[in-house]
């Protein structure tokens, strides 16, 4: 009698990069054909193929169809597999097929990576282009603004001087003469401040602004600034008060005054008679010193604040009042030079609090 040889598909699977797994309804492995990966017989298949976790309802269906094209066990760098599940409609057995897709995955992964990297680069490029265009627009606006700011006092100087130079039969009354000279002086002072601001910002931006640091008393600095604030144009009717601790601070006193003056000047511009501005010095428990200027004026929206903090930026609502838009950027740079943190808390209708937080290392050891 001759022996009949039947074809056993499992022989084909041995040595191939594919495994067929027969499961029972509880997802316990009954039989494994192929030796590409280890799927122990008698064990819950979800232990060796965790991708099936959560898919129990899908697998319990009469005709489940599941195909996951690229699945990799991420933390152990296993070979990527294609996972599919089908039910043998004759026997009702559930078959899981695991196929090595490392070659396809290598090609696909390169394609996906290149596509994503290209898209990300395009987005960055587009962002950089938008930023460059915005910066260009901001600089154009700034130049127009600076030109306007320079022209206004220059016109006063030239106009006043022209009147004074004009030959006339009778001399100008003394008080008119004084008024012209005062206007010329004030406009010249304003021009000088503007030019100083421009130079400061330029130096700070290029890293050429050096601090002249020494121990100075915050009480003296703040008192001086409060006096100055009360004399600022537009300060009439605004209550300006000082509060808080008086401590020694190691800093450039001229620059600290400049920080406070810029913040106070902004607050005065934003406020109306009846509003209140508080200039406070607070030593926190962690030893840091916080200088703050807080007003109960109109405040700013987040978008307006973002614009105000950019060099040359001016919130639309404040155009008429805000000069060159250099105040806050200068404060931010000067704070940075002192290793201090500059922060603004504001919301429309809730006033504005600008704080500069000097590190504890800038205070005497005994005060920390």
């Amino acid at each position: 009698m001759t022996e009949t040889k039947t074809f056993d598909p499992r022989i084909v699977l041995d040595g191939a990069r594919i495994v067929a797994v027969r499961l029972d309804d509880d997802l316990v492995v009954q039989e494994v054909a192929g030796d590409w990966c280890d799927v122990p017989v008698g064990e819950d298949v979800r232990e060796s193929v965790p991708a099936l976790i959560g898919l129990e309802d899908e697998l319990a269906q009469d005709l489940p169809y599941l195909h996951l094209p690229f699945v990799t066990l991420g933390d152990s760098h296993e070979t990527p597999a294609a996972i599919s599940v089908q039910r043998d409609w004759k026997s009702g057995a559930l078959w899981l097929l695991l196929r090595d897709v490392s070659e396809e995955a290598a090609i696909q992964e390169r394609l996906v990576h290149q596509h994503n990297a290209l898209s990300l680069a395009q987005r960055e490029l587009s962002k950089a282009r938008d930023a460059a265009l915005a910066a260009d627009k901001a600089k154009t606006r700034f130049l127009a603004n600076v030109s306007h700011e320079l022209r206004t006092p220059l016109n006063v100087v030239i106009g006043g001087a022209s009147i004074l130079l004009k030959p006339r039969k009778t001399a100008l009354p003394a008080e008119d003469l004084h008024a012209f000279v005062r206007d010329i002086h004030d406009s010249g002072t304003l021009l000088l401040q503007l030019v100083d601001d421009l130079i400061d910002l330029s130096r700070a931006e290029t890293g050429n602004l050096a601090l002249v640091e020494e121990w100075s008393h915050t009480g003296v600095i703040v008192e001086g600034m409060v006096r100055l604030a009360k004399a600022l144009p537009g300060a009439e009717g605004i209550e300006i008060v000082q509060s808080g601790d008086r401590v020694e601070l190691y800093a450039d006193p001229r620059r600290v005054k400049q920080i406070l003056l810029n913040l106070i000047s902004n607050a005065v511009k934003a406020c109306k008679p009846g509003n209140r501005i508080e200039i406070a010095t607070e030593q926190r428990e962690d030893g840091c010193l916080v200088l703050s200027v807080c007003d109960n004026g109109p405040g700013m929206s987040k978008a307006e604040l973002t614009i105000a903090l950019e060099p040359f930026g001016q919130p639309k609502a404040h155009d008429a009042e805000s000069g060159t838009g250099l105040g806050l950027p200068i404060v931010a740079r000067l704070a940075e030079l002192h290793q201090a943190r500059f922060d603004i808390a504001t919301a429309p209708g809730s006033g504005l609090k600008a704080s500069v937080e000097f590190p504890a290392s800038r205070l005497p050891a005994a005060a920390r």
């Binding site: 979800r46 991708a51 976790i53 959560g54 996951l68 990799t72 933390d75 994503n116």
Partner: protein, 173 residues
């Protein structure tokens, strides 16, 4: 022990793989490498649920990113107990891909909790409060401002979702 499938979804390059690797392996790499298909991470963690520490087995599905969810993303998300949706705070167009993924989860995985990661908080300004509130209210999601680079808020992100999944006693094996 019970195991829970969590899918991590979002646009490509937003830091899905980085968040998972920070959480599971406490590793971070600046080098971008695209994910193809799905990478699975098995992780066991102790999560406080209703005042009691519970050991929880998670299977995290790091799914190939896309600006909008396609058929493949939906197929991978099938059977998940919860979803983490990741957005990149440095991108101006952050919300559209997140909403797309969240809408897909609502439609395909109804009732499953969502956690939202607003990622790269170490290099981006804080998001608008209104945006955070809108996402939280619209999807009933817990929100975390994460940084995979520094690890900020990363455990809280996964724990918040784990608590909701385990608390609901849902999707477990």
């Amino acid at each position: 022990m019970k195991a829970h499938k969590i899918v991590v979804l979002g646009d490509f390059g937003v830091g899905k793989t980085s968040l998972i690797r920070r959480y599971v392996l406490d590793q971070f790499s600046d080098q971008y490498r695209a994910t193809l298909g799905v990478h699975l991470y098995k992780h066991t963690d102790t999560i406080a649920v209703e005042g009691m520490d519970r050991e929880v087995r998670l299977v995290l599905w790091d799914i190939e990113g896309a600006p909008l969810p396609g058929e493949q993303m939906m197929r991978y998300a099938l059977g998940a107990s919860g979803a983490i949706i990741v957005g990149d705070l440095t991108r101006d167009d952050m919300t559209a891909p997140m909403r797309g993924a969240a809408d897909m989860v609502e439609a395909r995985l109804p009732g499953r909790p969502i956690s939202i990661a607003l990622n790269k908080s170490d290099i981006a300004p804080a998001p608008d409060d209104d945006l955070v509130a809108t996402l939280r209210d619209r999807y009933g999601a817990s929100i975390a401002l994460t940084s995979a680079k520094t690890g900020d808020e990363v455990p809280r992100l996964f724990h918040a979702l784990g608590q909701r999944i385990v608390g609901a006693g849902d999707g477990a094996v």
